[in-house]
Symmetry: C2
């Protein structure tokens, strides 16, 4: 993660009791990531579901790391798992965890959520707006993606800050930063 | 990656001209990964499509790394991208690349293939056999997963060594090593 993440987090609370405050934090860091030009317009946080304690915050780092899977969900989930010493965030002895993202995960990150062990997924928004505004190809998802998560014990809350998230996507589009879709490589 | 990978690779060719030889290498390393007890029964290789030069070989490292996304496809693709200094294996100035796996990617790794920039995906096999034998939950995939890859410029070759791959899955099942599905955590 870039240095500014820890610097910005040091100015803020370690605990986010409400869902709105968790989503607001994540949307703000998606904006900071494009302002710092350190990656795409995406951020994700892992929180303890009940207490709201922030366990990890990740941003998109594809270009900087030379790794196409370094999406915000991946960086946040991997950081949380390494900090807690468990590849399963729903494993024995751990509190329930929630992943909060500034948009619905792409096809890859959707699968990553299933493997991660989180018990809740909270989203600023979902649907084609991200692709229409930014030009990213988010990949194909099964129609009943919410049901597939529910069937695996993961609750989903959507549309928590749709307009704020889209504002960041428009700022990203207007900043003329790189939109990397491999198929156009 | 565990030390034995480089030691085993040092005994072998650096170039695999035929598709059969590429798949055989990957299936063999999936077997070695469970024999060494260094991860799940999965291996993946990135090859230069035309020459067959091996760029990277990865195995499943979920348990060892405490990261649920450390699937073989991820380790192989990330290693290749870092070695080539590009988040896009189909990027300008690079030869076409092929990802070879000992089974169809899970929901997460399917998305990772799209983002990676490979132009070809070659599989020992696909379908529910892996779940039936091992108990892993591979997640939901769109029905026309091959068409979705083709539409993004990625060719797919399937069923190249189905029985050999299933033999490794049976050996994994019989070894009583950990099957980690987050929803059962």
């Amino acid at each position: 993660m870039p240095d500014w993440i820890e610097q910005e987090l040091a100015k803020r609370s370690e605990v986010y009791p409400t869902l709105d405050s968790r989503v607001a934090l994540v949307v703000e860091f998606s904006r900071l990531n494009i302002e710092h030009k350190t990656g795409g317009p995406f951020a994700a946080g892992v929180f303890e579901l009940a207490s709201g304690r922030l366990v990890s915050l990740g941003v998109n780092r594809v270009v900087a790391s030379c790794v196409s899977s370094a999406h915000a969900e991946f960086t946040a989930l991997s950081l949380a798992q390494q900090r807690l010493g468990s590849f399963d965030l729903g494993g024995p002895g751990l509190p329930d965890h929630e992943l909060v993202v500034n948009w619905r995960p792409c096809a890859m990150c959707f699968g990553a959520v299933i493997w991660s062990g989180v018990r809740s997924l909270a989203l600023a928004g979902s649907g084609s707006a991200v692709e229409e505004i930014t030009g990213f190809d988010e990949g194909p998802l099964v129609d009943d993606w919410i049901g597939e998560l529910n069937n695996r014990g993961i609750k989903v809350a959507d549309n928590l800050a749709r307009e704020a998230a889209c504002e960041v996507f428009r700022a990203f589009r207007d900043s003329n930063q790189l939109v990397y879709n491999a198929r156009r490589g």
